[in-house]
Amino acid sequence: MTMTLSLPKPQKTRLPRFGYRFPLVGVISFLIIVAWILVAIFAPFIAPHPVGDIVDFDFFGPMTAEFPLGTDYLGRDMLSRILLGARYTVGISLAAVCLACLCGITLGMTAAVIGGWFDTVLSRTLDALTSIPSKILALVIVAAVGSSIPILIVTLAIIYTPGCYRIARALAVNINTMDYVTVARARGEGLGYLIRSEILPGIIGPVLADFGLRFVFIVLLLSSMSFLGLGVQPPFADWGALVKENIGGLSFAAPAVIFPSIAIASLTISVNLLIDNLPQKIRDRSES
């Protein structure tokens, strides 16, 4: 009797609440992402040279001890500019992806709960919006209203809201048919309570994974826009703008062209790898 009772015990202790196991690749990519976020916050304190100052008389300088990543087309220190550029790339992208996901997920859950013509009209409209290529839509909006940082954030958010909406709606429709939601509805709970307390907890895992993917898309689009000269405007520069500024050094492979690209790649590839290596528990919590 005592034997049978004591057997299941060690199994229970082996599965604690937060016992997620992260693969090594996931940990490394997570650390890179955290490092870039810290750099974005503390950039002015760790940059070795003032960001706008011309510190070297040689333009497109090579990598030296004083300028670890070389100098740009005016002789400014590349390392400082990349560290400061992290602010714009990471900051704008994070703001845009939060805005897009907030709108997309709220609308998606609302559409799933309300259903009917509201759902149909909203889904059709947002679907039609996705049939404009993202770069073209961004070009048209920037051409019309100009380019400033708030406009960039809103533009990027508009472009990626339909994608968030579609995923959140598809997940929420499944949850919406669950008995506990029907019970809550029968209890007479309002729309706000339903989407916040009944639907959201069920879809949060996959939605967070999607948040990461969309962050990558936004970083890529923002960099492309800045590269085309339509994103962050001088004197400020994000990583895409840094590549554009120094594109003249391309024909002799100056470090000033290569390192901003590497910075973008390190961020986007890390986010992709982190999502791929998330524990199954987080990713698919609501799949049923």
Binding site: I136, L139, V140, S224, A253, S261, I264
Partner: protein, 316 residues
Amino acid sequence: MNSLILRLAAKRLVIAFLTLLFVAFTIFFATEMLPGDVAEVLLGQAATPEAVAGLRTAMNLDQPAFLRFIYWLGELFTGDFGVSYVNKLPIADLIGGRLANSLKLAGVTAVISVPIALALGITAAIKRGTLYDRIVSIFTISVISVPEFMVATIAVIVFAVYLGWLPALSMANEVTSIGGLLKAFAMPVITLSFVVSAQMIRMSRAAVLETLNTPYVEMALLKGASRRRMVLRHALPNALGPIVNAVALSLSYLLGGVIIVETIFNYPGIAKLMLDAVSTRDLPLIQSCAMIFCLAYLLLITIADLVAIISNPRLQ
């Protein structure tokens, strides 16, 4: 049963048409958000109140925006793209040659990248889990998660700077010989091929893998068919629809890539024209170029959907 396919296809075409209308509406009103009066901007120094009023009437600017949208749409359907604000030339003339250049670029890219990408994608699916598959997957993920201009810069650094095979920047308007033509095309085509192939490899691999997981392929395996026969005779014919679908969808990535590639290599295509129009705020030109891009995109997506409908064996 065939009428079901026809009905689904017709429904898809109607949706595509309605989407096109919606897209036109979005583009028109997005460009209408421009602060300031177009007539004043156009006249610049000569903006006397009479001149502005005259130009406003001439350009229908005193009409409500929705009426102007209808006029614009009507002219677009009859092939009249209007006149550029900046150099007063008909937009159809400006676009014509540029569009041909871009289509050439896209065509050459498609001819090169489709066979290579399909071969890589299908073989990677067949040899799933092997070292070869892993290398292909790492390649595709890396290309997909970096911006297109980075692919272009790496291509330039490898092929032009270190190997010295090709000029770093192409100048397609100074082409005199076939060798020159090849050189002018090489860098843009290489860059675009990488971007498009990565998408195509990933999608075609997924399409074949999905077919390999079906019960009838497992049945073929259990009957003792060789791996080769299982894939070529049983899986591939059924994966053909999804593969064509994947090809059409990945070709739509050409549209985004072409903007970056034409800028970085100074290629005189329609995307470069549109970017120049954005910097001079030439709204009619922007609208026309954007419509052409959206039309091409919609065309590819609709083809992908139609192929998926037609090739679905459950509907036959």
